[in-house]
Symmetry: C2
Subunit: 345 residues, 2 copies
């Protein structure tokens, strides 16, 4: 394997690799002192919207840990923002307003023009590919339509998505139109990211775990499937992230992603048994493992990679967590994980 | 079937019933105007600790909807409270202090004497059985040790249980002792509830869905299994509630509960296929269904009960939700669900 970029591309396509590539969700984040140093001088939106800042922060974990891939520093809520919803970042989480509650609210959303509304995203990606390629891979991302609609209807991170489900039960026309419009905006954003040069895109359906199996297939999956379908001609791997993989794995795989990023509700061996051939897997490590002593982390990595060697023929695997890194996670834990993967070549 | 109490007992034992019994988690709660009327005059702890108030609120939904079972109005945090942790109810949820962070903190916890510390629980149950029996069933409950330990270590409802997992990774001795002590207290509380007259007890492992399959078996299940084992001589059905049933169903069933209460991450048909014979099932309806028009709710109930009739021979089923009722849920929805079940006899 010559470069991390090639290793990552091969794993996404289920081709043979010297060792699985590794990157971590929310690897550019508050657990890093160099991230906090930038954040102390700039607010979150400013970092997201200023290509030079976004690029600098994106590079930080890749430089520190020598990971195989960088993920663009951005936020899934840039889509509701572009649709005319105000997004404020408060200590308890983002707050969106006005809330979408009716068909009239959906009709009032702005039409998104990716080249105009996400120009700062394209510019950050161009800066990054110039600095990372051909050594490292760069990943773009967006929120899945169901997850973004949940934010737009609930107003922020909630314990349930009951308001969105209630909208689907009471006014299916408004629900469908909302999801259609978000789907179009997300498709436009991801296509723009690919054109600007990312090696893959990841779609985060962070809130779909609130749905039972039938509702997931009815309310969330068709929109993600449509995005994947429309991105296919662009020729870059699409990674689909879901929580509650134990509940939704087969359904999520049916939407056609190249890579399925799974949380820790399922053992990797079971995910390999359940995912159709040709779909690579990513993720599965519990972020809380990173609180353990380095030797414990190394042991867990060793067991997982042995499983991949034994049963993973013809199936790509990318080391990652089941959820994003949190501010409390110790750098030593991240280091131990990445080093154990890099030592496995 | 003569009474709801008999119907409920038969369903727990997987015996034939005229129709499945129905009750709903958090059925005595803020969605009810008569509950809010009591709550306006008394604070939450006062309601929990005053047998007459707890009994009155417990009865409210049973009287209004003619449900088959009442669940004692109480709170899972009475156990940490009895162990010497202060529990304050704030708008964002309960706040516990001091936090348990080390072996010394675990050693400093108070020894629980159920007859002394939970006398108010026993008294509320005696009031209730006198009023409900022999017509209605009465259910007692407690938090599962893992869930209670999560509250004690995290300090309140959190987005993760990382601190508790970190304690397990870093100081397994302290983790085990904490869980042992909580397990003893919960066992004492549930035995006292049974002696006071409840028809069944439910153990809520509300936070175990944060665990992967191996961690669930390692960190949560053994303690719940121990409680079930110790309660067996008391001769009352034990209901085990878990979220993320899709991930943990077989493991949770292996702990030996009479009834497994499942959330909506799994289809009932799949749960019936996966749960061992002799284990009754409860739950599975998405609370958000109750936002739908009554005819939609009735249709969903009809489909579920048809499935139970077709494939549920020798398997008890109790109608309930996958999670508790929330304040926003309309009374008409609850009414439509209960009426559809009652009309199915």
């Amino acid at each position: 394997m010559r470069t991390s970029q090639e290793r990552f591309a091969s794993a996404c396509r289920c081709e043979a690799v010297d060792r699985p590539p590794v990157w971590l969700m929310r690897q550019a984040g508050r657990y890093l002192p160099e991230y906090r140093a930038v954040r102390a001088k700039h607010d979150f939106w400013e970092m997201v919207r200023t290509p030079e800042l976004a690029a600098a922060v994106t590079e930080q974990p890749v430089r520190r840990f020598d990971m195989d891939a960088a993920i663009l520093f951005s936020d899934i809520l840039i889509v509701p923002d572009a649709m005319g919803i105000e997004v404020r970042y408060e200590p308890g989480g983002p707050v969106l307003s006005p809330l979408v509650a009716s068909l009239a609210d959906v009709l009032a959303l702005c039409e998104v023009e990716p080249a105009r509304d996400f120009a700062y995203v394209a510019e950050a990606i161009r800066l990054l590919t110039a600095r990372l390629h051909p050594e490292k891979a760069l990943i773009g991302f967006a929120g899945a339509p169901f997850t973004l609609a949940a934010y737009m209807v609930q107003g922020g991170p909630a314990r349930s998505v009951d308001r969105l489900k209630a909208l689907a039960h009471r006014d299916r026309g408004a629900y469908d139109l909302l999801l259609d419009r978000v789907t179009a905006a997300v498709t436009g954003l991801l296509a723009l990211q690919i054109e600007a040069g990312v090696d893959a895109v990841q779609i985060f359906d962070t809130w779909a775990w609130h749905l039972g199996p039938d509702d997931y297939v009815d309310l969330a999956l068709p929109y993600t499937a449509r995005i994947i379908e429309r991105l296919r001609p662009h020729g870059r791997p699409v990674i689909s992230y879901l929580r509650s993989a134990a509940a939704h794995l087969e359904a999520a795989a049916a939407a056609g992603p190249d890579v399925l990023s799974i949380d820790c509700t399922i053992r990797l061996a079971d995910a390999m048994a359940r995912a159709p051939a040709g779909v690579a897997l990513q993720g599965n490590f519990d972020p809380a493992l990173l609180f353990a002593p380095p030797a414990v982390i190394a042991g867990a990595v060793e067991r997982q990679l042995a499983l991949v060697r034994e049963r993973g023929a013809g199936r790509g695997y990318i080391v990652n967590l089941g959820q994003g890194l949190t501010p409390e996670i110790p750098i030593e834990g991240v280091e131990a994980l990445v080093n154990a993967v890099r030592g496995a070549g």
